[in-house]
Amino acid sequence: MKLKKLLLLTLTLAFAVSLAACGNKDNTSNSATNAENNNAGKSETAALSGSILASGSTALQPLVEQVGKKFMDKNPGVSVQVQGGGSGTGLTQVSGGQVQIGNSDVFATEKMKDAAAAKELVDHQVAVVAIAAVVNPEVGVTSLTKQQLVDIFTGKITNWKEVQGKDQAIVIVNRPSSSGTRATFEKYALGTKTEDLKGSIQEDSSGTVKKLVTDTPGAIGYLALSYLDDKVKAVQYDGVDATVDNVVAGKYPVWAYEHMYTKGEPDATTKAFLDYFMTDEVQNGDVVELGYIPANKMQVKRDEAGNVTK
């Protein structure tokens, strides 16, 4: 008899779970209840309600999460959920209508095979990430020219002494070919696509790249500025330091936008969220705090083809 009860219980549970599933899909009704619960809050934005689901780039995720949390505090009727999954997943899901916002490190047109689907997506550039070439501090190199970098990453130069460093074989710590960081580095630092060299190391994550460059003698890799510290040596690019100021002024070229894509024009709630992202409060606050460069501070703009305008 006990087992029968157990059975009944599981069936009920299964039913409850499936009910909850339906409830979850009906996001608006769900958050409407929340709005009622917290309606005592601010009145100027009380009209906003609904839920925003964002997924994609793991690099952008902490920022969206933090801003989303602040946005929810300001608009109690809104729920912002942020999922990871990578740029590819974000674009897949926003294009498929499963999420409202797809976070991506690259332009959608570079990733998506289906040009028509890519065209439907509206780009919102919320921040800028700059990437610096980093080397193991022991190699004794502080600056590399564009040509030297190209020669290193294409395997023409294999020893640091060829670029005025010490006699030490070069170990390349690259990113996989699908990585957005690699695409940015190749496009703006090298100006050319590179092949994967035999014996080179490939890691997708900044933390692992940093660890390997720190530990491996003769290693070279590239990292977003936010990951830099004294364990690795960021080298100058054509004599220009990889600093925020140089990026903002348009002197240091190795940077890319962080994109938040919506399918078509966003609905009111999503638009309010994206607008909030561009306010000075967020741009000069959270964006800077998390190591990105504010998009609205940039003195130069760049389009998909890489053309820079002041």
Binding site: L6, A20, G23, G85
Partner: protein, 295 residues
């Protein structure tokens, strides 16, 4: 070489290798615990993670791991028990039964990443459950169910035939015999097996990257209504488990103490697995003693 000398040499080698294995384990455990234990504190276990500041904890991740475990077991246990009972009591020795046994074997040896990708495609994308605890639980069920089935089947088969026959003689239905005679006797083995299977939930990361996601949204630990979107109990929110968190902190961690956090989290994870192993043995033995002393 003389047989005696060869014997001594071989014995020496075998003992050496056996001790080497012990040394490797002790070394690894020592390394994990030595590096991690100093970082474990009540605050570390309960507070939320920090993105860029020092002093982040693993509270939500720990909760997610445990909650995911419970969710998985809610799905796995009834299904696994049922299928196991079928295999032990109802299945006739024919081709179909052989095929099912083969399926169980294949399912249990699928690489976790393949099952994870299946979860991504079907549960996350196709059925649109998103990166959520529920998606994770479904995928983990696929791992754990074959184990459950095997354990249940073995447990039921280990029950002495006489007990079943006694039940038949009393004119009980087969289902009645299963639930009231065989099940209690088989329970100790099932419990041990279940806990061991459950322990795997803690360690799994590859499949969960694609299904439960790598994020923990802001959860409100004072709201326990499972239907609220930021309630900890909502099964449809993304959830990063401890193992996934270690992976993420190692690979993307921006906080200055990322290394210590990974070390601390690893220590907690290993300790949890250890506790689960001990619990499984202890509970199995305790139940066994209880049931055998009654008889």
């Amino acid at each position: 070489m003389k047989p005696k000398a060869a014997d001594k040499l071989a014995t020496g080698i075998i003992v050496f290798f056996a001790l080497l294995i012990v040394a490797v384990l002790v070394g690894m455990l020592g390394f994990i615990l030595f590096r991690g234990l100093s970082h474990i504190s009540w605050d570390f276990l309960t507070s939320g993670p920090q993105t860029i500041r020092e002093g982040g904890g693993i509270g939500p991740q720990l909760f997610n791991s445990l909650y995911l475990l419970i969710l998985t077991m809610i799905i796995t246990i009834p299904l696994g028990l049922g299928a196991g009972i079928y295999m032990a009591e109802y299945a006739k020795p024919n081709k179909l039964t052989d095929a099912i046994r083969l399926i169980v074997e294949v399912l249990s040896s699928f690489p976790s990443i393949v099952v994870g990708l299946f979860g991504l495609l079907v549960v996350v994308q196709y059925f649109d459950f998103g990166f959520s605890l529920f998606s994770g639980a479904v995928v983990l069920t696929i791992f754990n169910m074959p184990l459950m089935v095997r354990v249940t089947e073995q447990a039921f088969r280990s029950v002495p035939k006489e007990q079943k026959e006694a039940g038949l003689a009393m004119g009980l239905s087969k289902w009645k015999i299963i639930t009231s005679i065989l099940f209690p006797v088989a329970l100790p083995i099932i419990v041990t097996g279940t806990i061991l299977a459950a322990g795997r939930v803690f360690g799994e990361a590859a499949a969960l990257l694609f299904t439960a996601g790598m994020t923990t949204p802001h959860i409100n630990f004072s709201d326990w209504n499972p239907l609220h979107h930021n309630s900890p109990l909502n099964p449809f929110r993304p959830a990063e488990t401890l193992a996934v968190h270690i992976w993420k902190v190692n690979s993307e961690g921006l906080a200055p103490d990322a290394v210590q956090i990974a070390a601390g989290a690893s220590a907690v994870l290993v300790l949890l697995v250890l506790i689960f192993n001990l619990l499984a043995r202890w509970l199995g033995r305790a139940l066994y003693r209880k049931f055998t002393s009654i008889k």
